[in-house]
């Protein structure tokens, strides 16, 4: 702050006072609900997940095989050209151990999350997912992992049709 300025506006209130209603408050829960169209690329992706497969799109100009699939190549700026299946195995690009749930509350059991570069897709084409059946100290960058799928009748066409990725035993 400039040394010329003497008074700084802003009246602080403690979070506790806010939560316990000691400050005049108005509450409102927004009713904002949406049904997003998945579009051709992601609709196919979700359908394939239900069938236990991961599908990507290929651009013939730059040759990239992209997942999540998209109907246009963002680098060449043209439509992508063909559907390509990629494997449900990959390598860990980066990972992390979360003690926080989506609403910032603490988790009793931490979850391990990772960006997994999928085999069969172009280099660096990763997706976000959980890791399972592995202890956090044993996770390594570059580790090979494989998807563990829910049984067919439990799959509904969502990214969580894959339960998690687990390490592939070294041969």
């Amino acid at each position: 702050m400039s040394e010329k300025i003497k008074k700084y506006p802003g009246e602080e209130i403690a979070t506790k006072d806010l939560r316990e209603g000691r400050v005049p408050l108005i509450k409102w829960k927004p009713k904002a609900r949406y049904a997003w169209t998945a579009g051709p690329a992601m609709s196919r992706f979700l359908k394939e997940l239900k069938d236990g497969r991961i599908i990507a799109r290929k651009c013939h100009k730059c040759g990239r095989i992209m997942v999540p699939p998209r109907m246009f190549c963002e680098l060449c700026f043209k439509s992508t050209d063909e559907w390509v299946y990629v494997k449900d195995t990959g390598t860990i690009n980066t990972y992390s151990v979360s003690y926080l749930a989506a609403d910032a509350s603490r988790l009793k059991e931490p979850i391990i999350v990772a960006v997994i570069d999928l085999d069969g897709a172009s280099k660096g084409m990763g997706i976000l997912h959980w890791l399972g059946e592995v202890k956090q100290e044993n996770v390594k960058f570059g580790m090979k992992v494989k998807a563990v799928w829910k049984p067919l009748k439990e799959r509904t066409g969502t990214i969580t049709d894959i339960k998690y990725f687990k390490p592939v035993e070294a041969k």
């Binding site: 108005i26 409102w28 992601m42 246009f72 700026f77």
Partner: protein, 385 residues
């Protein structure tokens, strides 16, 4: 006349009442591809800056900016979001070009209104949380309040408003981009279900999906790219108070001030002499009348008579909303301004097909940001060499 920047390419997808087969990504890619093709540019190489116009809560994503670059060809390029209607994006692009640091700027806006399940609640979410929201109700009552006051102050009538609806929806039948063209009579409008007196069901423009993209260029580049640059003669935008309690309910002051700014830039002293046709905001039927007066295209209280006498018909002396307006094409949220500007461009390029108005030189597009705002923008274009 100002020749700093011109529109050299336009493209759109839609406008349709629903788009169940395409996500926002595909509709934007389609509109952008068309616009770039029209302009003859490669976005990966030729476009210096991209401006996207939108609001998070229309999309259902926070920081919607994140989800835009790929489908516009803007990856690792300069893109940003203006949280406003497409005409604000045009004004921004104009300013960018005038700084001399940017030669080609693309502007995008879209609507995926059909993805919203609770539209009225989302509009209500824009109301002031302390003073207005707790009153509840469908927020369109605000339009009812304004319409009532406006008609009271000016002496214009509900019948004249109904004529606006009939005119615009009929105009839309000749527009391949329109979603809601129809043959409706003024009686149909007056007898339609009352919603927020004096507004009735058919006074309200229905929602639509779609996307519009435009490419602007500095004069140096525009002349290389196209034989028919459409010059930006003037831009203006303004905001009155957001508060319901202290606003002027009868006048659209933001339109007046935005228009003043645009006219001044365009060197226009008597708008009626120079504006050949206009695409003006008609989210609600009475808005067309209110804005017509605010734009000084007629005197206060005269807009109703002008409509009655057919002057604002497509074959009249001052065609208003030849595209069908928002009533006929569909209300596309923040893309509404670009939707209107698209019509102005097509008319000035002589590409408006069955809707073509002969011998036009200067056209105007005007938009209001919708309930509960008092913000709006104006853009004046010309094809004059």
């Amino acid at each position: 006349m100002l020749r700093d920047a011109a529109i050299v390419g336009v493209g759109c997808m839609g406008f349709k009442s629903i788009t169940p087969d395409l996500s926002y990504k595909e509709i934007m890619f389609e509109a952008a591809t068309r616009a770039y093709e029209d302009a003859g540019v490669n976005p990966r190489r030729d476009i210096d800056c991209f401006v996207t116009c939108g609001e998070d809560y229309w999309e259902g994503f926070s920081i919607f900016d994140e989800f835009v670059p790929d489908q516009l060809g803007a990856v690792l390029k300069r893109l940003f979001t203006v949280s406003a209607d497409g005409l604000y994006g045009i004004a921004t692009a104009y300013m960018l070009i005038r700084t001399g640091q940017f030669d080609t700027v693309a502007v995008e806006a879209h609507s995926k209104a059909s993805d919203m399940l609770t539209y009225a609640d989302i509009v209500a979410f824009a109301l002031d949380p302390i003073y207005n929201r707790p009153l509840g109700g469908h927020p369109y009552y605000i339009a009812g309040l304004e319409m009532n006051r406006y008609l009271h102050e000016t002496g214009n009538t509900k019948e004249q408003c109904a004529q606006v609806v009939a005119k615009n929806r009929k105009n839309a039948l000749a527009n391949p981009y329109a979603a809601h063209g129809a043959n409706i009579t003024t009686d149909d409008v007056l007898e339609s279900e009352p919603l927020f007196y004096p507004l009735s069901q058919l006074d309200v423009s229905p929602l639509a999906d779609g996307c519009a993209v435009m490419v602007l260029a500095s004069d140096r580049v525009a002349e290389k790219l196209t034989d028919t640059p459409i010059w930006i003669r003037g831009v203006g935008w303004n905001s009155d108070t957001p508060r319901l309690e202290t606003r002027d309910w009868g006048r659209a002051l933001y339109t007046e001030l935005a228009a003043d700014m645009a006219y001044k830039m365009a060197g226009i002293r008597t708008p009626l002499d120079e504006i050949d046709f206009a695409e003006i905001d008609d989210i609600f039927s009475y808005k067309e009348l209110q804005n017509l007066e605010a734009l000084r295209l007629c005197g206060r209280g005269e807009a109703g008579r002008l409509t009655e006498e057919g002057i604002t018909e497509r074959d009249g002396d001052l065609p208003i909303n030849p595209s069908g307006g928002l009533l006929g094409v569909g209300y596309t949220l923040e893309a509404s301004g670009l939707q209107k500007l698209l019509e102005v461009v097509l008319q000035l390029r002589d590409e408006a097909g069955k809707r073509q108005i002969p011998d036009v030189e200067t056209g105007l597009a005007q938009i209001w940001r919708g309930i509960p705002t008092t913000s709006g923008a104006v853009t004046i274009l010309s094809n004059a060499v």
